[in-house]
């Protein structure tokens, strides 16, 4: 759905984005992660047709953002990191204005606005003036505006910045719902807890360069090929550790009460082999759990803490 290849953006001698390439498949929630000043917003503004790349190509649903910006604008719903609202009008008027701005048929604008308000839980506030809304509600309103023309791709730049914890959790739930509806979501943030759990894929950017891109697991695998497992046994944990240490694919093993912690090298296929091996040695296995890689750990491992 989104294909970026060799994207560059420079301002005079300063290169804000350098050779950025990634792909986002349809229906995916893609997290674009990076510290402040990494080049996230510049990349997003190029994808949203607000900036022209100095070099490279960016396609949204097959349309080049440079050559066909009007078509791209029909496909994307863009929510900037900082935005204002028209304060003197009501919530439904605000949404109908954007419905008209996207040239939706006159007779259907009110119905579409109501549908979107329903989705974003704004229906009780429809008669309220936009100026009377809280920060969280304004954020919802902006998301509702972004959805008004039923875009295939949502480009959200730091959408939950400045929200309180409840509003943030509700916002996340809304994004999960949108993902279920089949929307491709491109979301940037430097708050990792905001993205963990909802992103199928991530791209990590620092100093204008993509450092890693793909699913969290694939990135973790690329970073360290080992995997950690916790095996709960009913008895004989110490013996199990001894036997495990004899296996070439086991890098280290240790007992912690009735739990054996082991670090394995190799792919997914190693895990069942180990289970089979322990079962063959008559070790009663009560359960096995793979330790998943944490987005925060990955981010800290990949980035160096520098800004562009």
């Amino acid at each position: 759905m989104i294909e970026v290849k060799g994207l560059h953006k420079s301002y005079g001698g300063f290169e804000a984005v350098k050779d950025v390439s990634f792909q986002v498949a349809p229906g995916t929630v893609f997290g674009f992660i990076g510290p402040n000043g990494a080049g996230k917003t510049t990349t997003i503004r190029m994808l949203s047709t607000l900036l022209e790349p100095t070099a490279g190509t960016a396609l949204v649903d097959g349309h080049c953002v440079v050559n066909y910006p009007e078509r791209v604008r029909q496909i994307i719903g863009y929510m900037p990191d900082r935005f204002g609202v028209y304060e003197g009008i009501q919530v439904w008027e605000y949404l109908e204005f954007f419905a008209a701005a996207y040239k939706l048929p006159r007779g259907r604008r009110r119905a579409i606005a109501e549908e979107v308000m329903e989705l974003t839980d704004l229906t009780p506030l429809k008669e309220k003036l936009v100026s009377e809304l809280s920060k969280g509600m304004r954020q919802r309103l902006c998301l509702a505006k972004t959805l008004i023309h039923d875009p295939k791709v949502l480009i959200l730049d730091e959408p939950a910045a400045g929200l309180d914890p409840r509003a943030r959790i509700e916002f996340r739930a809304l994004l999960v719902e949108l993902s279920r509806m089949g929307k491709t979501v491109f979301i940037s943030s430097h708050i990792l807890t905001e993205l963990s759990g909802i992103c199928q894929e991530v791209g990590i950017i620092e100093q204008g360069q993509i450092l890693a891109c793909g699913s969290v697991e694939s990135i973790a695998r690329a970073l360290s090929p080992s995997r950690r497992v916790r095996i709960r046994v009913l008895r004989g944990a110490a013996e199990a550790v001894e036997w495990l240490k004899k296996r070439p694919e086991v890098l280290e093993a240790a007992a912690d009460g009735e739990t054996v912690r082991a670090t394995l090298q190799g792919g997914e296929e190693v895990v069942p082999e180990i289970v089979k091996y322990l079962a063959g040695l008559d070790v009663p296995i009560a359960g096995l759990e793979q330790e998943h890689h944490n987005l925060e750990t990955l981010f800290m491992q990949i980035t160096k803490g520098a800004v562009a």
Binding site: T49, E52, N67, Y78, Y86, I89, A101, Y102, R110, E114
Partner: protein, 552 residues
């Protein structure tokens, strides 16, 4: 079933802005204050007039009330409208809603049109709201329906002009303060024609009619064309300023200015055709016409030669989409400093050449001279035509300067500011020198003329010779100069003796030849520098043309 918005058929930007503006306390306060002040002024005036004398003429009272009312509306139009119209687009930027607006399906023209309508709606409320007060004048009479209609028409035109100008600055600048101050700076100088129009309507109708009867018909058209063109040009500039710098912000303005200059030229030639055989005094008319044309032509380098030298990737892609036959023409019309330079010179030279040829043919066909400033003068024909190449040389100079700054990587806005300053300075400063350093020379010898280096003064020196030879052989100063500034005696000037039989080239040569030589040499130096800078520039990264879309 959801209800439909009863106003859904209105322009969405108009609807949104009107709703947002009219719900504010500020609007209510402004409107109330305006009505209170206008009402108070009219009532005080009424009291004073009715109480001052027993012999009050009711029609005078009615006329005074109406004039006060119109003046009030004029003040609102001229001073209040920019205050909110300038914030129309800068407000979107300052309120961080601009990106949301520009990423919708609205094109820049949709936004400008919507903002124009919204601002006009605001003005309309002020006009309509004060109608009950103006009705007071009908109680006394003295105002004809024609005068009321003309006043409203003039005010509507003025409002459109003010709004367009405000929108242009609002689109160009990012802060409302700068937009407002720039608009007021222009309006202070351009308010007099409107005031003149309104006062002229109430002058003694007989004398006004006599004055107007002497004005050739094309002059009326020219005035209308100038007003409407100013409005259209401002709106086009506003639209272009809203586009991203990588989009085509030039072709529409280029085409408009071509049509506009062609129309002005046609109107000028029409005047000459109509008026020449009658042997009327055409000096002032030709002077105004050539002045207007020269001024408009200076817009070409200002607008088009200041553009960045390199076209964006999007523009290169768009150019490639045109048919091969049309590409050379489109290259000339598409943005780019070099294309702007070529376009300006080609169009202006062509227009000047056509004008010169047409005038020449007219003179020979009609066997008439172009009398300048004196009905008995035999000079003028050649002089009027001499202005044209001189104007072209000035155009070349300013265009080369813009091009040089563009190749030196100056920002477009800065180039335009510098150029505007230079053009104004070069036209005004020599006049100041001329007046302040006037020194009469008794010998009247030939010499060097510094003020000839100013575009306006060099042209004027051709059109207005210090003296002229009349058909009876006598040499006299021109009537227009008599008692004012004697050109022979100005600072640094030397002239040939004027007691010999008149030779216009002899008198004029030092001024315009020096001006042309200096400006031409400077232009050539700048063009050489441009070529050097162009060679030094890094070769551009070849544009990566993305594959065509899957859907067409």
């Amino acid at each position: 079933m959801a209800r439909t918005d009863p106003f859904a058929h209105l322009n969405p930007i108009l609807l949104k802005d009107v709703r947002a503006a009219f719900r504010t306390r500020r609007f209510a306060f402004t409107f109330m204050t305006y009505l209170s002040v206008l009402g108070a002024v009219i009532f005080i005036m009424l009291f004073v007039q009715l109480g001052s004398s027993k012999n009050v003429v009711p029609s005078d009272v009615g006329r005074d009330i109406f004039l006060t009312f119109i003046l009030g509306l004029g003040v609102v139009t001229w001073f209040l409208v920019p205050a909110f119209a300038c914030a129309a687009l800068t407000g979107e930027r300052e309120g961080e809603t601009f990106d949301l607006l520009i990423t919708t399906s609205f094109r820049p023209w949709d936004i400008v049109w919507g903002k124009l309508l919204a601002s006009f709606a605001y003005v309309f409320v002020f006009y309509a709201g004060s109608l009950p007060l103006v009705c007071l004048s009908f109680l006394f009479g003295g105002v004809s329906p024609g005068q009321i209609g003309c006043c409203y028409l003039a005010l509507t035109l003025a409002a459109l002009f003010v709004i367009s100008l405000s929108l242009m600055f609002s689109a160009v600048y990012t802060s409302s303060k700068r937009a407002v101050s720039s608009t007021y700076a222009i309006l202070v100088f351009s308010g007099f024609p409107l005031l003149g129009m309104i006062i002229g309507l109430f002058e003694d109708r007989g004398s006004l009619r006599r004055v107007l009867a002497g004005v050739p018909l094309p002059v009326f058209f020219l005035t209308a064309v100038l007003y409407l063109s100013a409005i259209v040009l401002c709106l086009l500039c506003a639209t272009n300023a809203l586009k991203s710098p990588t989009e085509n912000r030039s072709t529409n303005t280029r085409l408009f200015l071509c049509a506009f200059t062609a129309l002005v030229t046609a109107l000028g030639l029409w005047t000459a055709w109509e008026e020449m055989p009658a042997g009327k005094d055409l000096g002032w008319l030709l002077g105004i016409w050539l002045g207007v044309l020269g001024g408009i032509l200076l817009l070409f380098p200002l607008l088009f030669c200041a553009e960045p030298p390199q076209r964006s990737r999007r523009l290169q892609f768009e150019l490639g989409q045109h048919r091969p036959v049309l590409r050379p023409l489109m290259r000339l019309l598409y943005p780019g400093a070099l294309s702007g330079f070529a376009f300006s010179l080609i169009w202006c030279t062509g227009l000047m050449a056509l004008t010169a040829a047409a005038l020449w043919i007219l003179i020979h066909q009609k066997r008439a001279d172009l009398p300048l400033f004196s009905e008995t003068s035999t000079v003028g024909t050649a002089q009027a035509l001499l202005v044209l190449p001189l104007a072209l040389v000035f155009l070349l100079f300013f265009a080369s300067l813009c091009l040089l700054m563009s190749y030196a990587d100056f920002r477009t806005k800065n180039i335009r500011t510098v150029m505007l300053f230079l053009i104004v300075l070069s036209n005004v400063l020599p006049g100041v020198i001329l007046v302040s350093a006037e020194r009469r020379r008794a010998d009247g010898q030939a010499g060097f003329n510094l003020y000839g280096l100013s575009p306006s003064f060099a042209e004027m020196s051709i059109l207005m010779p210090p003296s002229t030879v009349f058909k009876d052989g006598s040499v006299k100063p021109l009537p227009i100069l008599r008692g004012d500034v004697d050109f022979r005696g100005t600072w640094g000037c030397l002239y040939v003796k004027l007691d010999s039989p008149f030779d216009p080239r002899g008198v004029m040569m030092p001024q315009w030849v020096v001006a042309m030589a200096v400006y031409l040499s400077l232009s050539l130096v700048m063009l050489v520098l441009c070529a050097y800078l162009a060679r030094r520039r890094r070769p551009p990264t070849p544009p990566e043309v993305a594959p065509a879309t899957s859907e067409t």
